[in-house]
């Protein structure tokens, strides 16, 4: 294992692991979903065909 190998391995692994942890930290520290959200007027039912609009 050369010095260059160490540099590339440590930088690459640190970058992807650091990015993933930073992203998860941002996601988990964000306010949660608003559970009471309902579809706007005029929008068809999600995942449904026209009949589902009632």
């Amino acid at each position: 294992m050369t010095a260059g190998g160490w540099v590339f391995m440590l930088c690459s692994v640190s970058f992807v692991v650091g990015l993933a942890f930073w992203c998860f930290w941002r996601v988990l520290s964000a306010p949660p979903h608003r559970a009471d959200e309902t579809p706007p007027a005029g929008a068809p039912a999600a995942g449904a065909g026209p009949e589902a609009r009632g």
């Binding site: 294992m1 190998g5 949660p32 309902t38 999600a46 026209p50």
Partner: protein, 529 residues
């Protein structure tokens, strides 16, 4: 007003589902092979360039298109592309977002069942490559042929019910059962424990590999450090080779599951004002962590330690199903236990991906035909089982599998990704696209990505696609000319495409009859101030 039938339960669940879709066998088996063959550590330079210029921007475009379609109540790729592209032509181009996951599922479920069988065989001690290390490689290849039936067509059904068929049926049944339970109760719940379990399995295998030391003192060069060096020592000379850049872009592209039609579908279930920018980046970075930190440190070093440089090269199937069983046989103590954990990890990686291939088609059947969940799941089960049966039956040299993988699982995703990035940057427009992406965003997309998503990514994609065709098309066209199964398989793909186009036409008529704005001419709900 009906309530939406499907929605993600939590933001984290949605991210894990998308990350689960992206993390697959390629992370652990394809990436290390590509990196070690194309410059080792130096490969990471074009790799990260492709991640920034291709993978992340196209991912963001797909998330945005999907959420935009979802806000209008559409979840299938044709309907979403129809409203985002504002026209029927885009709707029919969006059919590729059904064809790709459907056809890929037909062969991917088979590979998934191999992982499941290897896992059970290791668990019950049924994998035994013999007492003579010199014959391990032959025994491992023989086991692979026995599992896959790759020595002749239809072999898995001769002489009674072949064991591999049982695992194939189980894998199909588990996928369909989870899909039937629905997005949140099925896919999200499963991925919420499968992804952490997969990470745990990877950590266990990684720790074992990094503590292997130098198993054979008579060959001191075969050590963990030697293996890491084989994988990571940079060869900067490879950076002048176009193939290296092509391989890096291709790896990023396939790894992140962009161009599959999956992200569009999954993002369409995001809430209207929920973040998609940070969620997209989190899913991508999770995939990268599995690929670089686990795939890059486990597979090649483990193979190198026991088999040397010649044993540490190979394609996805070669490394995963031929080489690694030999490695586990050498790896004492705990070699077979590590084998079981490894194949459990691969199975989890595969099933979180295969689930994501079913959901877009299921959403389409419900949306286009107005089918309830039970009927749409039954129809989907029939279609996918028939298609997968084709791959299982024509098992000789895995020709049917390889044909589907090349023409749909590889070439077609370039086309779909190109369609999607053009729909985002040129048809939907950057201003509208970025406004949609930033609706409720926890992170803003840097302004430089406006230029990247409009110009750089499409051109980069085109260059990679042309290079890919130049490298691969002649041999596959020659294969089509001389192999009946390959031609028939193309017929199956063609018939599937025609069927999806017909169903899209039927859906289009139903949507128009119901007065839905399927061409996206009017404002989307909550477009106003």
């Amino acid at each position: 007003m009906s309530q939406p039938r499907e929605q993600w339960g939590t933001r984290l669940g949605m991210i894990l589902a998308v990350a689960g879709s992206a993390v697959g066998l390629g992370n652990f088996l394809r990436f290390p092979g590509q990196a070690s063959q194309h410059g080792g550590g130096a490969f990471m330079i074009p790799y990260f360039c492709a991640l920034l210029l291709l993978g992340i921007p196209i991912g963001w475009a797909e998330w945005t298109l999907g959420r935009y379609g979802g806000r209008r109540g559409f979840h299938s790729c044709p309907a979403v592309m129809g409203v985002a592209g504002r026209g029927a032509a885009w709707r029919y181009l969006g059919v590729l977002g059904l064809l790709v996951p459907l056809v890929v599922y037909m062969y991917y479920i088979l590979i998934e069942s191999w992982c499941l069988r290897y896992f059970f065989d290791y668990l019950r001690g049924a994998v035994d490559l013999g007492a003579d290390p010199a014959r391990y490689a032959d025994a491992s290849k023989a086991l692979f042929v026995q599992v896959t039936g790759s020595d002749q067509d239809g072999v898995v059904y001769r002489g009674g019910l072949h064991e591999s068929v049982v695992f194939w049926v189980v894998a199909c049944a588990v996928n369909l059962a989870l899909i039937y339970r629905g997005l949140s109760r099925g896919i999200e719940r499963f991925c919420s424990w499968a992804m952490p379990l997969m990470a745990l399995c990877a950590v266990v295998v990684l720790v074992r590999v990094l503590t292997l030391g130098t198993p054979d003192p008579s060959m001191p060069e075969r050590s963990v450090l030697g293996g890491l060096g084989f994988m990571w020592n940079p060869d900067f000379g490879k950076l002048g080779d176009f193939d290296t850049w092509l391989a890096a872009a291709g790896q990023i592209f396939f790894s992140l599951s962009v161009g599959f039609g999956v992200i569009v579908n999954y993002a369409s279930y995001a809430r209207r004002k929920d973040d998609i920018v940070l969620s997209g980046l989190t899913a991508s970075s999770t995939n990268e962590m599995f690929e670089v930190a686990f795939g890059g440190l486990i597979t090649i070093p483990a193979a190198f330690v026991f088999l040397g440089a010649s044993g540490a090269v190979g394609g996805t199937f070669g490394l995963g199903f031929n080489t690694l069983p030999v490695v586990f046989e050498y790896m004492q103590p705990l070699g077979r236990a590590i084998g079981a954990i490894w194949f459990l990890m691969l199975f989890l990686a595969a099933i979180t991906s295969s689930l994501s291939m079913l959901q877009p088609v299921l959403a389409f059947l419900e949306e286009a035909l107005g089918m309830p969940r039970r009927a749409s799941t039954t129809l989907l089960a029939g279609i996918t089982t028939a298609g997968s049966f084709w791959v299982v039956w024509f098992s000789k040299d895995l020709v049917a599998l390889d044909t589907m993988d090349f023409w749909v699982g590889t070439a077609m995703i370039f086309v779909l990704a190109t369609v999607q990035i053009i729909a985002f940057g040129w048809r939907m427009g950057l201003d509208a696209g970025f406004a949609e992406a930033h609706r409720g965003a926890l992170l803003r997309i840097p302004a430089v990505f406006r230029f990247i998503m409009k110009y750089v990514a499409p051109v980069f994609l085109l260059v990679v696609f042309v290079g890919f065709c130049w490298q691969n098309l002649p041999s596959y066209l020659a294969g089509l000319a001389k192999n009946d199964v390959a031609r028939w398989t193309m017929g199956v793909i063609g018939a599937t495409l025609v069927g999806l186009l017909v169903l899209t036409r039927m859906g289009e008529k139903r949507w128009r009859a119901a007065g839905l704005d399927i061409d996206g001419r009017g404002p989307a709900p909550e477009d106003g101030p």
